[in-house]
Amino acid sequence: MIEFDYIIERDMGNGEIETFTPDKLPTKLPNLVYIEGPNSSGKSTLLHILALSMYGHKNKKINPALRNKMDALLDAQHQKLTFETKITNKDESLKIISRKKGKDSPEIVLFEGKNGEGEKPLSFESFENKYNLIYDIPDKPTERLNQLTIEIKEEQQRYGNKVRDLEVYIRNIITKISESRDQKRIDDLKTKLKQIEKEKKQLEKDKIHSQKILEILKKYMCCRYLDEYLDKEQALSEEIKILESKRASRTQVSRRFTTQYTNSKNEINKSLDKMDTQFRTATTLLNSLLPAKERHHLSVWKRINLNGAINDYVFDENLEREIIHFINVLSEMKTREESNESLKEAMIISDLIKFLSEYENSEIILPGVEISLVEFIKALKGKNKKNQELIERLNNLDSAKKLLTELDGSRQTIEKELSRLKMLAEKEEEHSDTTSEMDNIEKELSKLQNRKKSIDTKLDIYVASMDEYPDVDDQNLKMKIRELEKNKELTPYFRYNEDQLAEKIHELEKSLKSLNEDIVTKEFYIRDYERDIRRLEEKEPHKYQPYVNELNQLFQKTGHISQKLLKEYNENISVLIKNDLKNQRLKDDKNKKYFYEVSKYLARRIGTFHHIDKDYKAVTVDLISGKISTEDGKIIQLIDMGTGQSQSTYLLGLLNTKDDNRKIIALFDEVAMMDSTSLEPIYQKFRELYETDRLLAGIVVQKADEVSIIPI
């Protein structure tokens, strides 16, 4: 039984509200019914509301034009709709009730009641899982056959989602199993734990052995090179001491010669300064005394450089020669001057003045001339005045001669000093050879001191390291080395030099560090395994534990199927829906198989159909070429089929869903092109499905002048 009622309050645009109710059709109908009626008798509205009551407006399989009409009914701005529908199956064990109570709310509530139990709400998804709503207007039926492919797409999606749900379910089981008690895993972990503990013990043994070797080698190296560097240091110290002593003695000799030379040179310089004063005085006198013919000698005299003697260790040879020459010249000049009578008189008068000046203060009157002594001296001085130049010249000649004699004396004395200075200078020269030797000593000393410094640094290190070995001291050092060398295992290393030993020790330290790290890692794993074992042992085993391998396989298989259904097949069917012949995917063998299976599936959906005057059974429906191949080998073009026949074929295709356990609600509108011959296969299918409880309701609507309700 199909029961329905609705109220539509439609705004007519002038403020007037018109109300529509199902007043031209009965509100109770049989489950399988054929309805005829004129326009506006409410046939299509009935189908829209029935479809809407079962979420038809959300159903993507339904023609978009029909969905738009359902959406328009829900448009609250234009009209207000309320309805209630109820479909009961033939034995009344099942009913689905739908209500839309709110005029302004689009909310539709659908319930399912089974076996007299209470009504349970059905969401769109739940309804889709249990019921198959088919609502169609079979216009242009040959083209609409394509729409069966949309059903395939929907089914692929539906199955794909279910497989994916199963995949997720299996994955959750596997996760739970991995978190549950797994005896095999516990045993595996225990085996691994034992193995790691064994490996750790071995590492610890290796560590102890390495430590022992390292300690011995470090001690051996410390003792051996402390001993060696002590010896070297001692030898070097002695060598340095010898060189320092050698350097000290060379310095003393050098210093003595240097002092004597400097003192002598200073003395000579003083004498030379004094001699230079005499020389300049003599030169002045010679300048005033000598006649012009002596100009050449005087010129030679003036070029004499007394101070140059300090560097040459001898005077200019012209000095001695010119001194002798000038003394002779001066002597001759004096002899000539002394023979002059005027000079003799001047000398006498001068002697007289000198003698009488001693009695100048007496008041004696000289007899004969009757003048005082003072007046007489005055007269003598006046007389002698004109001879004074001669006297002074004679005196100057004497002074010059005396000065030249003194100069010669100084020359002789200084020349002796210069000779000694020269000898000291030569000693100094000898000392310069000693300087080169000193340089070598210094260099050698520096080298030895550097070596000693580097040895001292080494010694500092080894001495500091000896703190670790209180059993070793200076006295027993060599004995300890011999004791250590008795260790046969380490014999090869005792032949190593210092660098090789240091390298070996470094290598052992690295190896020891690595061993320690390995031990720590093992300990980490041991703790980890122990924790895992404890955690696993505390758990209860999962009921599917023995099936974990099978579940993993199932997980892979579900992943594989969902991938195919939701991606590969979905892409293929989309190509067919879009009739994308150019798509390269069609050429692929795998895709060819897919499209062939689709054509077989569509043929199965159509089943047996009536064409012209004969029934045919479809084998394949090729939507791309628009051909149906039949069991008896006939090829029928879809476009050659009559409209009514192809409508019938199409609707049969929609109903032929035996694989689908969902209960069908079939609503077919505007089947005007179908005659009774074309409609009969639909009715038969309705009855067959209804008898097997697969069809809940089947309504076919057609336009006519009068309302007729005919049960099928």
Partner: protein, 49 residues
């Protein structure tokens, strides 16, 4: 299996027997737990239907 079945369509496309069986069980409307028990051989289909 009915010839018209979408299941037979998938059956023709899939090669693996287990995969075919999964599709078949889904078409029966069984719960995930029931499907797993059948697939693991713990229960048979008749017990679940």
């Amino acid at each position: 299996m009915n010839e018209e079945s979408i299941v037979s369509f998938f059956d023709a496309l899939l090669d693996d027997e287990t995969e075919k069986k999964i599709i078949k069980l889904i078409s029966k409307g069984l719960s995930e737990d029931e499907m797993i028990e059948i697939l693991l051989g713990i229960k048979n289909e008749e017990e679940c239907l």
